[in-house]
Symmetry: C2
Amino acid sequence: MRPIRLPIALLIFSLGLAASALAEDGYRLWLRYEPIADASLAKSYRSSIGPIEAVATSDTAKIALAELERGLEGLLGGELKRTGATLLVGTGDAKHIAKLKLDLSGLGEEGYLLTRHKKNLVIAANTDQGVLYGVFAFLRQLQTQRPLENLHVETSPKVDHRLLNHWDNLTRTVERSMAGASIFNWFDLPYYVEPYYHDYARACASVGINGTVLTNVNSNATVLRPQFLEKVAALADTFRPYGIQVYLTARFSAPVEIGGLETADPLDPAVIEWWTDKINEIYTYVPDFGGFVVKANSEGQPGPQSYGRDHAEGANLLARALAPHGGFVMWRAFVYDFEIKEDRHKQAYTEFTQLDGQFEPNVSIQTKNGAIDFMPREPFHPLFGATPETPHTLELQITQEYMGGDIHLVYLAPMWEETLEADTFARGAGSTVAKVVDGSVFGHELTAIAGVANIGNERNWTGHPMGASNWYAFGRLAWDHQLSSQEIADEWTRMTFGNAPDVVATIEEMLLESHQTVVDYSMPLGLHHIMYPGHHYGPGPWHDQGRPDWTSTYYHNASEDGIGFDRTATGSDALGQYAPEVVEKWGTPESIEDKYLLWFHHLDWDYEMKSGKTLWNELCLTYQSGVDRVAEMGQQWDSLQGSIDAQRHARVAALLKRQLEDAKFYKDACLAYFHTFSQRPYPAGVNAPEYPLEHYKNFELYHVPGHPGEQW
Amino acid sequence: MRPIRLPIALLIFSLGLAASALAEDGYRLWLRYEPIADASLAKSYRSSIGPIEAVATSDTAKIALAELERGLEGLLGGELKRTGATLLVGTGDAKHIAKLKLDLSGLGEEGYLLTRHKKNLVIAANTDQGVLYGVFAFLRQLQTQRPLENLHVETSPKVDHRLLNHWDNLTRTVERSMAGASIFNWFDLPYYVEPYYHDYARACASVGINGTVLTNVNSNATVLRPQFLEKVAALADTFRPYGIQVYLTARFSAPVEIGGLETADPLDPAVIEWWTDKINEIYTYVPDFGGFVVKANSEGQPGPQSYGRDHAEGANLLARALAPHGGFVMWRAFVYDFEIKEDRHKQAYTEFTQLDGQFEPNVSIQTKNGAIDFMPREPFHPLFGATPETPHTLELQITQEYMGGDIHLVYLAPMWEETLEADTFARGAGSTVAKVVDGSVFGHELTAIAGVANIGNERNWTGHPMGASNWYAFGRLAWDHQLSSQEIADEWTRMTFGNAPDVVATIEEMLLESHQTVVDYSMPLGLHHIMYPGHHYGPGPWHDQGRPDWTSTYYHNASEDGIGFDRTATGSDALGQYAPEVVEKWGTPESIEDKYLLWFHHLDWDYEMKSGKTLWNELCLTYQSGVDRVAEMGQQWDSLQGSIDAQRHARVAALLKRQLEDAKFYKDACLAYFHTFSQRPYPAGVNAPEYPLEHYKNFELYHVPGHPGEQW
């Protein structure tokens, strides 16, 4: 072996195994501000953006200005030409903005205007918060390489309260998330404020998120103790200048657990006094505290029904104490009795429609997109449009509890779009879920939308590098539900991976097809709740033990006669809770879209689908197409090798390999199981399951993160 | 308010609030390779280090070369002068090294030689692993700004197996650590290998750590399932080129729990067969698997005594199956009966001395530095020197279970040094613990030292920025127990915070006094085990509930008569387990050092100390001096503002504030409690406790990280 002899400079990049290992670790999310590669575009930006003219007195304004400088420095290297142009930034009452005589009247408190004024560019708003949002939007124009010539963006949020819900425990475990420990380092607070709290708040603000619920809906009263309120205050102080209000979950039994009372009965005067005092105390720590999310009388959580009271009486107890401070209550509709009286699908509707009109004005019913539980696809929840007197907070799940955790690539915006655009017909055609939520259908003033966060203390925040697209998309849709999932995917991809056309086209295609893909390989054609019990990662169609509505067989009803849940009038009639127009559409297997077919109908294995195929064949082919699509995603991703950084490429490539194995496993396990009933051959083009059914039934995953049955 | 109008370039550094928030986040540990600020020194280095001449065929050699390039690039910017000098790097059998005719015969397999040869500098070893260690040592010379003129370092490790023990669970919780989740992302393995695994291995290799036990001593048999062995293999493959062997903890009842057997009796043929097969299977995944650490029949863990067998029979079962593969067993001496027969201090000695001679040659008794449990200070464990036939793995605790977790600044090397230098007199004077462990006292070939890691997935690895000094010091002492804690502190400080004289002097002084400080404000003068039960953070001198030897009162024995544990012949006679020379020294309150006084003696409150003060006064003054020293550390640290980066400065400053509050609390709680017995006034210079005793007794911390009773 002859020794090599090289000057150092030549060797550095040839052998530096780990030297650049953390160059693109994902920490910067979509706020990377990498230099614009297109030289002529960069030149044009440099010549049209002049020096900044701004007033920055509040912390929020200072943050806005710092972000603008940081963004421009990164994107353009700070070499702006002195062309006489100026970038005018500020609120309408600042002199340099006022003299432009812009009409800002439609912007409200949070909206912003990006426009040109003669040679100058303008970022204007009515508040510093609006300016901050405008700055992020302006930078987004550059990050996504849009022209500035005719710049004119005027927007304000359609929903007032746009919240992340963290299912984070005080022990730093996170329910249903896999991205490491909770970002909230409770033990170090209030002494040490992690720098990344600022970056969390920046990222949220950049997409318009203006509230965060710090604690799990499966709640712990300890967060209401003074020792923890100090910590909450430190977080609130950190988040406030980014326009982010802090909320908590309220454990209904807190008066007993930490208050020393013997009851938590919401009508008991001592309980009312305790909560009133406690809420007043919270406001001494956090003067702009947002309010509470409450999961009551559901899955073991305490609630008013434990004392013979109803949800309205429970919610109103908290709402009345919050009202003087301007706080509000999001009372979750995800409730179902421990005794199964009827199709679980129907219970929230039954409970809450009869209480409509009894809630205080500062109560919103927090309602998941569908009536079961964040399945890969659900028809919209029948409660939307069914409580004219009570607003709804739409609860979406960003973390992928039933969709492969942080291992599977699933862009969720198309699913959310489907819910938002669904028509409740509550006030005639066009009464979409989005319009129920934004208050326009019933004229509600209290409007809110919540996303269950997929964030942890992993360096890249979300584990899967693509998981951040869902955090991003949630914020963007919460601000403007009319944005399309395609537009949002395009923005996020450009900001996260750059503007190279092949990169953008490939990733966008992967993102946009990914949701249909996960549905196809796990729970296609309206199937639902066939996941492995407990950790919810992987299939468990055979699961039939314990409480029936926690099994899989309860939902798919597979037998030799066929498969599916009859929710029409001949079955549970959950369909009857929807408007007549919906009932008509979904009432027959012929009129309903295939994607919801087995959600509402029980059909023979040989039922002839719209495609002309039998149900069994269509089911098999759909499972197979999901698997094939994952394989194809792997190839698409491989084609980008060298076009994006090695670090993120390697991570996604590894995850796609596993997703493919998981998808095959899901398909094989389900088909092997359903085949025991259908007894029909697998159609051409479908790979029969690799192993006998017992193999899949016996396979057990250990220590799946985020499962509350685990320590983690 | 007039708008500001500034060119961008001027604004960037004035308002960029968060722009540089992560510049010094601690991730790089002591391998920062920042440019050498001293221009003349840099010039001199540049002129004496020529181009590298090396052979790099193995992965280890490639890593060594890459590290060298990375280090030189960082430190010197790659601008090395062509002075005719060459940096010769390689093993003795490589041509360019062989021709130098160096004597490498004393280096063994891991040692290295740094030297000059004519104009050239040389990094030579017998193996690529030795070269890797040599590269880190060479870079350390530059990082600590030592001259290269007379470079000559020749060293090899005194202990063969230098291991981290991770008390990490498969759920990613970590027992007794506060630095976030486990670094081992089990669920993502084996698919995704985190880039930071490489940096973990680099950091370990840089200080000579050559083994890692991946799992908690409170063990989980699941890690032995094939599903997890695949994951273990992925980690082993990653760590191997850095010279790091992988070990696991063996749950003694695994044959029952995952093997389907009805017994785990170590003499049962089916059990022997199961372990033999299992161990053979492990080696198919990890051909250089290191072996097992076992905690048996201790604190609820299963073990051979459950089947009427002894520790030797248990250890030998595993050892015999490991032997053909070259693996070994570290069988922990941290055992005590569930029924309290005698002073817990005595039990390990009693159990293991009678088994001496019965262990297989590939068994080492893993023995903590002291006989109780990682107290802030303990006299050395009497087992050292007491088993001439059986080697000991010295177990040190890097994580600060009883010393403020990742919140308090405590540099542990002085404490470890105290143990290593303690004389057992086993073969006459000079039979130090270090020499028992390095095998020289009894001629043992199997030598090992283990440190319980303080590492988690926090970005800076250890939570407290100073916590990394203990990881560093452990590795350095494990390599060479003759290094002084001062030398190690000097190295670490320069590598971590730079070479500015005021920075180095201040931080070194803080580090070197910090251990005595924590002892003084928590458990001075030989007091021990007076921590809060369960989470072990904070004081609990009043704790007297439950199992006596888990209480505080069992150990301090405070009453109106005095305080302390009589372990002389008039008491438990634990002292009688030591050599006569030690018994003589520690046998009277007059001859024993004050630091161990109340460990062995129960004394009247008015006992006259060497200082002339009464015991009560001395106790009070020592507590006070601990608190005062923390306050002083805060001032010392404040004086460095501006001399080190803002980010790490802010974090340590915040932590020191809290440490001061905690130290006061500890002192006040203990003095308020002991005062109920002593009934004597607080001496001048001591601040009386701020609150009545009840205040301290009623104070409860919630959700302290690392406490296994917590989810986290």
